[in-house]
């Protein structure tokens, strides 16, 4: 397995979706390839960091505006209409 092939499989590797044969090939490559080990470590960390910065909270005032907007809307229509 080349580095290019190894890197192409990392998402499926982290998801546990590789067949056991391919997983063993990848792990054998990682064992002998420091650059790919570094790649995997930073790839995994990138996934975590991106998830953390993407975890934004909805502003409280927006929640209040949304509630007001929707309460009017659902009450304005008769049930079943």
């Amino acid at each position: 397995m080349t580095c290019k092939e190894a890197i192409a499989k990392l998402a499926e590797y982290l998801d546990g979706e590789l067949t056991s044969v391919v997983q063993k090939q990848l792990e054998a490559h990682l064992k002998t390839c420091p650059p790919c080990r570094a790649y995997l470590a930073t790839y995994r960390k990138t996934k975590e960091l991106a998830a953390k910065v993407n975890r934004v909270d909805m502003p409280e005032d927006l929640k209040a505006r949304l509630r007001a907007l929707l309460i009017d809307r659902i009450r304005a229509r008769p049930a079943g209409g």
Binding site: T2, C3, K4, E5, I7, A8, L10, A11, E12, D15, P34, P35, R37, A38, Y39, A41, T42, Y43, R44, K45, T46, K47, L49, A50, A51, K52, V53, N54, R55, V56, D57, M58, P59, L62, K63, R65, L66, R67, L69, L70, I71, R73, I74, R75, R77, P78, A79, G80
Partner: protein, 201 residues
């Protein structure tokens, strides 16, 4: 994600004008809808408009929800479409830039770059450093530059923690396309972080 009885009765009560049902719906979904809307549009004002559109749509179209998919999946789909629509016209020509942010390889399959670069491993740096200051800005900038369809997949998989199959259902893409976009998005972000962080002496 199959819809269940609780989803259906929640929508029924919503149609009957039940304020508690609205509270329950908002409590369960508004934070997630905002996160996804912000993740795709990357602008608080746009995200707010998307959230309002989504909940108005849910209230208006609740009759057409038949429980074939889970309510959450339906709401994610409405949100993704609304957020991508909001981006229409604001789209930058970034697809080629993404190519430049992916790792490149030599003919023998080794990664391009000098030894120090391909060995750079900043994953053990303290997280408070990685998530603050310049590094946080680099990461935010890299996320901004991703094409919005890639951001949608990244947020649905890595923040909302949906499976590849669920993301495909939400975005209307094939599973292989979801997997490819997710992998390319993560690789592009990793490359930007590595150019910024490593190699360090």
């Amino acid at each position: 994600m199959q819809g269940d009885e609780a989803d259906l009765s929640l929508l029924e009560r919503l149609r009957a004008g039940d304020a508690n049902a609205l509270e329950a719906l908002m409590g369960q979904y508004s934070a997630r809808v905002y996160r996804l809307a912000y993740g795709i549009t990357r602008a608080a004002g746009d995200a707010e408009e998307v959230v309002q559109d989504v909940f108005l749509t849910v209230c208006r179209k609740s009759e057409s929800f038949e429980g074939r998919a889970a309510l959450g999946s339906w709401i994610y789909r409405i949100t993704t479409n609304a957020a991508l629509n909001k981006r229409r016209g604001k789209r930058q020509e970034v697809e080629t830039a993404l190519e430049e942010q992916l790792p490149s390889f030599k003919a023998d399959g080794h990664r391009e770059g000098d030894r120090a670069y391909v060995l750079a491993d900043w994953s053990q740096n303290p997280e408070r450093d990685l998530l603050s200051g310049e590094t946080r800005e680099v990461l935010q900038g890299a996320i901004d530059r991703l094409p919005e369809h890639y951001r949608a997949v990244l947020v649905l998989r890595d923040v909302e923690e949906l499976s590849n199959e669920e993301v495909a259902e939400v975005t209307g893409e094939s599973v292989p396309s979801v997997k490819s976009r997710l992998h390319r998005a993560r690789m592009a972000l990793r490359e930007q972080l590595t150019r910024h962080l490593g190699p360090r002496a």
